[in-house]
Symmetry: D2
Subunit: 144 residues, 4 copies
Amino acid sequence: MASKITIPEIQAILDAELPLVEVLGMQVEEVTAGTCRVRMRFKPDLIRPGGTVAGPAMMALADLAMYVVVLSLVGPVDLAVTTNLNINFLRKPGPKDMIAEGRVIKAGKRLAVVEVDLYSEGDPQMVAHVTGTYSIPPGTPDAA
Amino acid sequence: MASKITIPEIQAILDAELPLVEVLGMQVEEVTAGTCRVRMRFKPDLIRPGGTVAGPAMMALADLAMYVVVLSLVGPVDLAVTTNLNINFLRKPGPKDMIAEGRVIKAGKRLAVVEVDLYSEGDPQMVAHVTGTYSIPPGTPDAA
Amino acid sequence: MASKITIPEIQAILDAELPLVEVLGMQVEEVTAGTCRVRMRFKPDLIRPGGTVAGPAMMALADLAMYVVVLSLVGPVDLAVTTNLNINFLRKPGPKDMIAEGRVIKAGKRLAVVEVDLYSEGDPQMVAHVTGTYSIPPGTPDAA
Amino acid sequence: MASKITIPEIQAILDAELPLVEVLGMQVEEVTAGTCRVRMRFKPDLIRPGGTVAGPAMMALADLAMYVVVLSLVGPVDLAVTTNLNINFLRKPGPKDMIAEGRVIKAGKRLAVVEVDLYSEGDPQMVAHVTGTYSIPPGTPDAA
């Protein structure tokens, strides 16, 4: 199965509707049906004590990766909404770009569950691990 | 027991170390030992499809409220770190300021667990509910 | 609004369909629309190292409290299912009965979100805190 | 690195200290340093409406898998305790044995974070996904 949305189509939604993506310097790099890779550029605005990337910036990156995974399954449905997000912070990231690798673990008619691994660029150790649930609006073509 | 930190002392830490707080327009309004209220001004930068406040902005607000609750218990320890955050999004917020009410539910030697309720200003229905865990650095004066 | 189910009606569902409730010695003590109190008798079968109540027994108690809260809102719908449960263990419980206090924080058409506080009988300090989500089957009379 | 505990050593701890493991029919099948596989026999006591395995039984299985992963890293330390567990229920399991596959995603000095995938025997689709945190007692030989 192919992704139901292309990177330019996703970018158009993000540009029109999610200014925070631009503010935080996030960019979709890869999408297949049910997976994605998203990057967040390192910026001084995003640091926390210790010079490392702040937790909320990581949560924003994970949330975007979840959204992109859902779009890849259902197409350009801008009313899908996160209902739950759980994050475990594992290690201090470096002062570097962060990479989010997202993948679907359940694509149902009403709910999609997505897992996201966060990394510092160039370091194989996971920095944070996220699971989240998206609610799919009724009437959306079946993602399952 | 009184808060181990004042609002101006918190503000000084945030100004020096957490630029994202300023970027997102967040402000500490009240602190007692183990509780706080934090506000996030409504800004066009923070919206998501539908004109409402984006989820990541709410997570950033909740994370700040958790940090302030921890500071109120242990004093100005800038190396306390979030280890886990779980958020349930309950209702669409209005295009308004958001208010976070945080309170400690466990203050241990090594971990603090904090609960945060998020509201849209002027609406009594909870918009999102958060629980999270902070790791307290060894050697910190006992929060318990 | 009154509860859409009585304690005897709940007990009949539990007796017929959830043998684990009997195995673990759990009992519904109070139900109103959107709240409940459930008790788990202390039994040697439920202990963990240190002589205290095992975590999985507490999770089972919280899950039952969530289910009872959902039944109080939608009536005897035995196909409502938990989709997410998050628990923070706060303190070691005593070798005593445990009490779960559940309350709804969102009652939607498709999802209900419930919060549960767990206590050791006679001790005011919370032992564990749970939030969870239930999926409500389509066609169920509106819980909202 | 080899597991710091063998299956017979784990079994001895479980037999002595965790009667619920026997009640629920759970058994450790495989352990390496940082991973394990644990089985729960299908029993009529564990069902829920619809004839399928009850959620609390799955949570107990996941909790045991987390504990075994931690023991594999730190050796026979019976005071390690779960501090947080988050579960997403993905699909209805069959009336069959359930298998938990656990693996560590962070082994720190004070906290270990573990991920567990749950399956119905013979079905490749994940039934539930769990992440959890264990607190490691001070003075334990370093798991990292």
